[in-house]
Amino acid sequence: MPEIGFCNKFMEMSLFKAREIIKKYQGKEGVLITILQEIQDVYGFLPKDTLEIVAQERSIPPATLFGIVTFYSQFKLSPCGEHIIKVCHGTACHVTGAERITEAIVGMLNIKEGETTSDSKFTLEKVACLGCCSLAPCIMIDDKVYGKLTADKAKRVIKRIAHDAEKG
């Protein structure tokens, strides 16, 4: 498994939460993906140590587990920014100008798709449809969808979030 970089937030947190999640599903079938999702919800990504516990407790060879984790695009092996920006590149968004939205955000935050800003505020991702196609082009920041965007509007939304975050 790849080495996971040093991450303050994670170091502060114990592995207790991960153990708790695994325990909750003990003896149940069809829950591995759910366990991984819940662990990621807590830590923001899947720290190597938690995966080792999952492998052990659920009796899955670590290599198999790693294969599962890397198969699904939702799972992350390294920490992300505070806010995750998902730019939709589904069909409707593609034909209504998603590329331009990405370009504007890339220019504004100075990161590429898949990267996180140096202040760990934003991570930029590409997704394949947010299911709000009638409002295309759209982006999702954290759990909120913003639709009918232009490059300018998208930048304003992000500015506002950065600003709100500063104010606390």
């Binding site: 999702q37 939702q74 593609h94 034909v95 947010l130 709000c132 196609c133 913003y146």
Partner: protein, 594 residues
């Protein structure tokens, strides 16, 4: 003046994204301030996503719907309904629909028939009593009280219902196979993965009327003899998951789910699984592998899930929309369903209309209606003054249907004949500014990305096709590229195990079939007729139209625009990245693309 009885706000994901929550809060405050006892409720989507946020006011048993409502307008709407004449005039232009009023938006509904979406936008999805008050859970009562497994399956077969997840397999036959499988334990699965980009029917149904899907699954479970069910919802739909969880909880409380349902021996429980972001997991065998906690890779069939599915037990899997049809068919009888439709395609089909269309939203139309009717009568035609070019159906497995075939009826067989597929219901409308080679490249990059990698033809073949298509859009196309694409397509189709690979070439094949000259323009003349492919276009400024306002200069990210204020500006073609920001920003339509 009579009392306002109820106010509804459309709060599906689309309504929320358009600002529905803010409107809801404003209404809450306003009614509180005025001490009005109005029932304020959040409902799903009635389909008019294009004029979200939507607010329905119910007075004297009659509904009036307002569109594009801003929080500021809320007080005026309430006052208008309380009898203030001058406010009536203010709010009138926001009316999009009314029981007693004709509006120009009525044509959006005139040709629609709502079976699947019968409750969406009307009931509060979090309130089981509202579902029950609209005959909810009556179908399962009928099944348990009066019908046998065989009779239920016979009714579904007679209705002519076919799977709405894409392939269109007859649902009754599928159930019968699962019922006939002799084994103690059996499973029911609801496929809510909705992976096709550009599709949101299943999300809307799950968010707007989750109980109809649960009731459908209950009936299916009874018919095949299953005791446990799974609903697999894609990762991007957190609200659908939330509403489903709540619906399952309530349904258990009311005794419709769980042990000894309605006091009988029949027991059935439902689990929710959230997908983890892999398109191929929409394929039934991959989906089941994913529930089992494995990599979501498809396997060969047979054995079909009806014989060996989840953990090797007989499993019946259907799509969200398929399930939502079931209670209606059982309660009202097969003929109430198959009175709609044509030949071997019965009932209705839900489509999500998106792209360059005036009324983007969710529509349910009887099978057999033509694409023209769906796009122009229901959907209101093309945005702006642009010309219709193609409708994309079936997502990455489907194809682009050109204008010459726009009178094709919506039924499984006719659509398949065009080279596209009915698919799950995504319909993305494209206008003259959409480049068909770029669309083909777009879908290929999607399938190439999502290929699970098991079959060589799908894994490597799609990559080679993508390389060729990318080259063509970059102006580096070569003589013979089209033929190579066609050849690779056939090989990928025949050399792939699952539907992903078997259908991945469809978008390329249909665009070659109907827009071959567009490919040739790219390859031979290095021109993109739609002015879309960046390597093949140049931006310039029209001296007659430019006012020297300088907006283009401000937005240009690469400093390619120069010019003094109030004087004509120019674009340095060498520097220009062809992002089009200047064209979006110009208020005078002065930016030309050639």
């Amino acid at each position: 003046m009579s009392k306002i009885e109820e106010i509804r706000v459309g709060l599906n994901s689309c309504g929320i994204a358009a600002g529905g929550n803010e409107v809801y809060n404003a209404l809450k405050e306003e009614t509180k301030k005025r001490k009005l006892s109005i029932r304020l409720k959040s409902v799903g989507c009635i389909g008019m996503c294009y004029s979200e946020p939507l607010v329905d006011v119910i007075q004297d048993g009659k509904a009036v719907t307002y569109g594009m409502v801003k929080p500021k307008l809320v007080a005026d709407i309430i006052e208008a309904h309380l009898g203030k004449r001058e406010k009536k005039e203010t709010v009138e232009k926001f009316i999009v629909k009314g029981d007693d009023i004709r509006t120009k938006e009525d044509s959006f509904f005139d040709k629609q028939v709502k079976i699947v979406l019968r409750n969406c936008g009307i009931i509060d999805p979090d309130d089981i009593d509202e579902y029950i008050s609209r005959d909810g859970y009556k179908a399962i009562e009928k099944v348990i009280g009066e019908l046998t497994q065989e009779k239920v399956i016979e009714m579904i077969q007679e209705s002519g219902l076919r799977g709405r997840g894409g392939a269109g397999f007859p649902t009754g036959i599928k159930w019968d196979l699962a019922r006939a499988s002799k084994d103690g334990k059996k499973f029911i699965v609801c496929n809510g993965d909705e992976g096709d980009p550009g599709a949101f029917m299943d999300r809307s149904t799950l968010e707007g009327d989750p109980h109809s899907v649960i009731e459908g699954m209950l009936i299916g479970a009874f018919a095949i003899g299953a005791c446990e069910g799974y609903i697999y919802v894609r990762a991007e739909y957190p609200l659908a998951v939330k509403r489903l969880r709540n619906a399952i909880k309530k349904s258990k409380k009311y005794g419709f789910l769980g042990k000894n349902i309605l006091g009988t021996k029949f027991s059935f429980d439902i689990n929710i699984i959230e997908g983890a972001g892999a398109f191929v997991c929409g394929e039934e065998t991959a989906l089941m592998a994913s529930i089992e906690g494995k990599r979501g890779m498809p396997r060969t069939r047979p054995p079909y899930p009806a014989v060996s599915g989840l953990w090797g037990y007989p499993t019946n899997i259907n799509n969200v929309e398929t399930w939502a049809n079931i209670p209606f068919i059982i309660l009202h009888g097969p003929s109430s369903f198959n009175q709609y439709g044509k030949d071997r395609s019965k009932g209705t089909k839900v489509f999500s209309l998106a792209g360059k269309i005036v009324r983007g939203g969710l529509v349910e139309v009887p099978m057999g209606i033509t694409l023209r009717e769906v796009i122009f009568d229901v959907g209101g035609g093309i945005l702006g003054d642009k010309k219709f070019k193609a409708a994309q159906l079936g997502g990455p497995s489907g194809g682009c249907i050109p204008e010459s075939l726009i009178d094709t009826p919506v039924d499984y067989e006719s659509i398949t004949k065009t080279g596209a597929i009915m698919g799950s219901g995504g319909m993305v409308v494209m206008d003259e500014e959409t480049c068909m080679v770029d669309v083909a490249r777009f879908f290929l990059s999607f399938t190439q990305d999502e290929s699970c990698g098991k079959c060589t033809f799908c894994r490597v073949g799609s990559k080679r096709m993508l390389e060729i298509l990318t080259r063509i859009t970059e102006g580096k196309g070569k003589e013979g590229d089209i033929e190579t694409l066609e050849k690779l397509s056939q090989e990928i189709k025949s050399g792939s195990l699952c539907g992903l690979g078997q259908t991945a070439p469809n978008p390329v094949l249909t665009t070659i079939r109907y827009f071959r000259d567009e490919y040739e323009e790219h390859i031979k003349n290095k021109k993109c007729p739609a002015h879309k492919c960046r390597s093949l276009i140049t931006y310039s400024i029209d001296s007659d139209k430019c006012t020297g306002c300088g907006r283009c200069k401000i937005v240009c990210p690469v400093g390619a625009v120069t010019g003094e204020p109030k004087k004509m500006h120019t674009i340095d073609s060498e520097k220009c990245s062809r992002c089009g920001f200047c064209r979006d920003a110009c208020n005078f339509d002065a930016i030309k693309v050639e």
